[in-house]
């Protein structure tokens, strides 16, 4: 926490001044993006017991846009994502401070309806985490929990969501078999289908493709791109080419002295073509990490 000094050296001091252009959502992005702010982090810090994982992050994310979070391993990208749907609550010893606003509502407020929040914000993890049940049951559990009980509707929802992730043809004959029997890639796509089935507003994807082969990865990428405009997507990726292909905005995180920080944030083409921060250009060209 005593690191504010070095932080302010790294980027222009940010006083939450709404007019300060370089830290506002960029209205110059691709056209499908609406210019309104959907999610906003103010002075977000995350501490694991005594380890400061993320410090003073200020970030606004536009509605309907795809924002890619990039940065080296351990810089706090996953932690950032988990704070958005308050999964950090579940981690022992993890403390989040600052303000997180979704549609202007502070989700850090004490009486936030977390179930509603998490329906609103879907999430996919780095490692595929299917439930140890049948494929069908994996999708049915969230559906039933959110009030869908009709058999026909259930079946069609399941089919649609599996088709969306390109898994339907592969598993349609073994919907009742254990999901853990799927290969890693198939499992990850199932997780994606499971999150999509709830039609969330915001989708948090933590390296969704790192366990997928290029073809599945391509399917998923296409799917993500097709969500643009309807969903706000925040995706963590190690694959800069992927970020370049699909992202409207890119945010670069970096661990300075072991403390994760937001280094730069802007429209994808700006970040990739004329990065303002030297770390960004170094990272993009692959010379630093």
């Amino acid at each position: 926490m005593d690191d504010t000094q070095s932080t302010s050296e790294l980027r222009p001091t940010q006083e939450k001044a709404p007019g300060f252009q370089s830290w506002r959502p960029y209205q110059s992005a691709q056209q499908c993006c609406e210019p309104s702010t959907h999610f906003q982090a103010e002075n977000l810090s995350i501490v694991y017991r005594k380890h400061l994982a993320l410090q003073n992050v200020n970030l606004e994310i536009n509605k309907g846009c795809i924002t890619a979070l990039v940065g080296p391993s351990g810089c706090g990208k996953t932690s950032f994502l988990m704070s958005i749907n308050r999964l950090t609550d579940l981690i022992l010893g993890c403390q989040v401070s600052g303000r997180l606003l979704i549609n202007e509502t502070d989700i850090m407020a004490p009486f936030t309806d977390l179930l509603h929040l998490r329906r609103q914000v879907g999430m996919i993890f780095q490692k595929p985490t299917v439930f140890p049940f049948s494929i069908r049951k994996n999708l049915e559990i969230p559906l039933r929990e959110h009030g869908m009980c009709d058999h026909a509707t259930l079946a069609s929802s399941i089919e649609t969501s599996l088709q969306q992730v390109g898994l339907w043809d592969e598993v349609k004959d073994r919907l009742n078999q254990p999901a853990q029997g799927l290969s890693g890639g198939q499992q990850q796509r199932l997780c994606l289908a499971r999150a999509m089935v709830l039609s969330p507003e915001i989708l948090l994807l933590d390296e969704p493709c790192s366990a997928l082969d290029p073809i599945s990865s391509g399917i998923v990428e296409d799917l993500i791109v097709s969500l643009r405009g309807r969903y706000t997507v925040i995706i963590v990726t190690h694959n800069l080419a992927q970020a370049r292909r699909i992202a409207d905005y890119v945010a670069l995180f970096w661990a300075v002295d072991g403390i994760g920080q937001l280094i730069e944030h802007g429209p994808a083409h700006t970040i990739f073509q004329s990065p303002q921060h030297e770390l960004t250009s170094a990272y993009i060209s692959g010379t630093r990490g």
Partner: protein, 284 residues
């Protein structure tokens, strides 16, 4: 199976393991051989359903089986919800270093060590006398429930804790409520553990003598209500073996029935576990 190797240590370990297994299997086979040898020839449907006569030397064990079943039902009906609930509370809502969790866990650990005869004394003082239930199946079942609770909770809690945190995180990320997470994710995944807990508990309860002598009583009549006194199988065996001259062969046969019952419970539990695993999980 893992790969063995030819080193001396490896051979030593293998030898040790097989020796241990033989050492355990021998008395077990001997014991069960004895039981079969002396008890088998009397075993018949008639023995199982008929009423004991001449202080148990003759006749069967019908009413005793019914009493035992009722005692076990009371015991499990009380212990299961409390046990499951407490295990869930301990694994999902408390931390290892939290006072409430530590208190409950500590007291359960001590409770697990309380000798069954002390439970018998407690049950007699509390259920039979203070609550006025008298020598009855209800008192016996409740006393046994107190006795098996710690084992049940411990085993069930372990199996809840064994579920990867990832599962809870992804359930939470789907906006699934705590109740639904428990119902749909945790409980199904912990079923085998719960079953093992129940088997251990039921096994201990079935085998119990000391706690029942002072609570459910000695009457070998067919019970007509839970408030009736009823003799459990193990007490019947004890009485035949220790108190009735010439009760040996019926004691052997009753022991055989009791063990047969336990075998059935075990087999059905492992059948359910297996069914469950093939249904829901990758064959391991």
């Amino acid at each position: 199976m893992l790969s063995p190797s030819n080193t001396i240590g490896e051979t030593g370990a293998t030898l040790m393991v097989w020796t241990a297994v033989t050492l355990i299997a021998t008395p077990f086979l001997w014991l069960s051989g004895d039981l079969l040898w002396y008890g088998w020839h009397q075993l018949s449907i008639n023995f199982v359903v008929s009423v004991p006569q001449n202080a148990g030397r003759e006749g069967g064990i019908g009413p005793i089986l019914v009493s035992t079943g009722l005692i076990m039902t009371v015991c499990m009906a009380v212990a299961m919800p409390i046990g499951l609930g407490t295990a869930l509370f301990l694994s999902e809502y408390t931390q290892n270093d939290q006072v409430s969790g530590r208190l409950i866990r500590g007291s359960l650990d001590v409770l697990a060590g309380v000798p069954s005869i002390v439970f018998g004394l407690f049950g007699n003082a509390f259920f039979c006398q203070l609550l006025g239930l008298g020598f009855s199946i209800l008192s016996g079942g409740l006393t046994l429930a107190c006795m098996v609770l710690p084992i049940l909770i411990r085993t069930v809690e372990e199996s809840f804790r064994a579920i990867a945190q990832d599962q809870r995180l992804s359930a939470a990320a789907l906006g699934i409520s705590q109740r639904a997470t428990i119902q749909h994710i945790l409980l199904p995944a912990a079923i085998p553990g719960v079953l093992v807990g129940c088997i251990l508990g039921l096994g201990r309860a079935m085998a119990e003598t000391a706690a029942l002598i002072f609570t459910s009583g000695y009457v070998d009549r067919m019970p007509t209500s839970l408030m009736d006194s009823g003799r459990a199988l193990s007490i019947h065996i004890y009485d035949l073996a220790m108190n009735v001259a010439g009760g040996n062969s019926n004691a052997y046969t009753t022991a055989l029935v009791l063990i047969g019952l336990l075998l059935i419970i075990n087999l059905s539990a492992s059948w359910i576990t297996k069914k469950w695993t093939t249904l829901n999980q990758l064959p391991s």
